[in-house]
Subunit: 267 residues, 2 copies
DNA sequence: CGTTAAGTTGATCCTGCTCAAGGTCGGTGG
DNA sequence: CCACCGACCTTGAGCAGGATCAACTTAACG
């Protein structure tokens, strides 16, 4: 049973039922994911040993903002977050949606400022690993460095997909593409979830900011897709009625679309 | 002296003078960059020992195409390359320009197909390191895994910048932004190069494909910038006449713009 | 000096933005 | 249980940034 009534807080800080899934749903795999994925018991103990502790962030709160210095690496244990950039005049670009298992805050220019911010979409929990502990840790357990490299390169690969989408696809294609991505990642995280009733803790404005459109236009595209009986997205509920149709609208090779689901770590 | 007349081949395969800079210019720092950056003599020997050899790629040639399987990691030693994606109908998105020192071909889904291609802008040389050698290498020398992670996260950071640019900036801002990026990276690679005469082996079509515009519109924007006396970009020659003006057009915080130049590795 | 890639410019069209006004959902407080 | 409120969604009208199509010019190489 997935959607037991465990309340959480949304962006406004009010209780709502949008993030109702139990901890076991939002974060079940997290401790086995991210940096700990495929780790030996020894490594797990070492990581546990050097971590500072967990940090909770309410929905709408920032893990860190743009331009802050950041001396830790975070392993997202529970909840959804997103990475973003904001220009002077308020235009916002969402760079990445982070699901449990994501590694956050590892960026070049260590002492220096971050060039993006991280905000919680739902109430979230991150495991804090001080930056200083990382290097000795990777010296003792060499697998950790490679696993980090692999995780970041996976995110990079997603960023490349987004670049292609924003740079060269039409609004319709972009929306379809993002919904598919969210579905695939949701499903990889919580297999068994139903395709016709997913809780994606994201508004239409988030979607627009992620794919370089205005919320108004995103809404129009979603209306069309709804009228065509392909998907429904309404108040953070995603229902994919016609998966093949959606893949078609996205302009994806159906085979490639399936390959998305099978990105597994080294070995 | 930087621009000695050592010919290379351009996209058409003809000799030209666009890549005239001597090997010492295009690739001088490469063997000290990338995976080898900051490596101890021991590590250097180990990397040298397990590499398969160098591979040369003529301008316009592919290091690997989209959908090929790729069982090696490449260290770009000499030349410029770019990562790209092509949609079914021919639309192309350039994901990243790679300069000497770049690590190429490290991507998730190892045995699986690549999701992007890599093409040479100038005659290039890469050092080939078999994928199988990488893991034992990183076990023996833990620093290598972390260095890899750092390198990839630097590329990721650039991809985030590009996402922000394409998603939320106007055509004018995007062009200015990319020219600044190319200048900064060029300068970091070949300090001492003149700001009013840089050889950037990239056409206006490449620029368009990198920032999600048509070459026609890129041309119009460049015409405006030229008429305003800010930059000239003509036949792969970039001249920045008014750096502050360019930073202003890009809508960048001047201080942040300078910070770009100082991304250094861990420790 | 011919050839070809690359750059340039104009006219026209269309996708997606802006501005503005409602409508709906869901949580809260009476 | 109902009324209220704020966040979120929805729709229309008009506009504009950038795309498309097409023709022409220029630079660089052989």
């Amino acid at each position: 049973m997935y959607h037991a009534n465990i309340p959480a807080r949304d962006l406004t800080g009010r209780r709502n039922c949008l993030a109702r899934a139990p901890a076991d749903c939002w974060g079940c795999q997290a401790r086995r994911n991210g940096l700990c994925e495929g780790a030996t018991p020894d490594e797990l103990r070492a990581i546990e040993g050097c971590k500072w502790g967990d940090r909770e962030i309410g929905a709408g709160g920032d893990l860190f903002g743009i331009g802050e210095s950041c001396d830790s690496v975070y392993n997202l244990v529970e909840g959804w977050m997103f990475l973003y950039n904001i220009l002077e005049d308020g235009r916002r670009q969402i760079l990445h949606f982070a699901l449990p298992g994501a590694v956050l805050g590892f960026h070049p220019g260590w002492g220096a400022m971050t060039t993006y911010g991280v905000q919680a979409l739902t109430d979230s929990v991150v495991c804090v690993i001080p930056r200083k502990a990382l290097e000795p840790l990777s010296k003792r357990y060499p697998g950790i460095g490679m696993r980090l490299a692999w995780l970041i390169s996976r995110d990079n690969s997603l960023a490349f997909d987004h670049l292609t989408s924003i740079g060269r696809r039409s609004a319709r294609e972009r929306v379809a593409h993002l919904l598919l991505e969210l579905y695939v990642r949701y499903y990889a995280q919580w297999p068994g979830g139903r395709i016709d009733e997913m809780q994606i803790p994201v508004t239409q404005e988030h979607i627009g900011d992620a794919i370089g459109l205005t919320l108004v236009h995103v809404n129009r595209v979603l209306r069309d897709l709804r009228q065509e009986g392909i998907v429904e997205f309404h108040y953070r509920r995603l229902r994919i009625l016609d998966p093949d149709g959606l893949i078609d609208v996205a302009g994806l090779d159906p085979q490639l679309a399936m390959a998305w689901m099978s990105r597994r770590p080294i070995e």
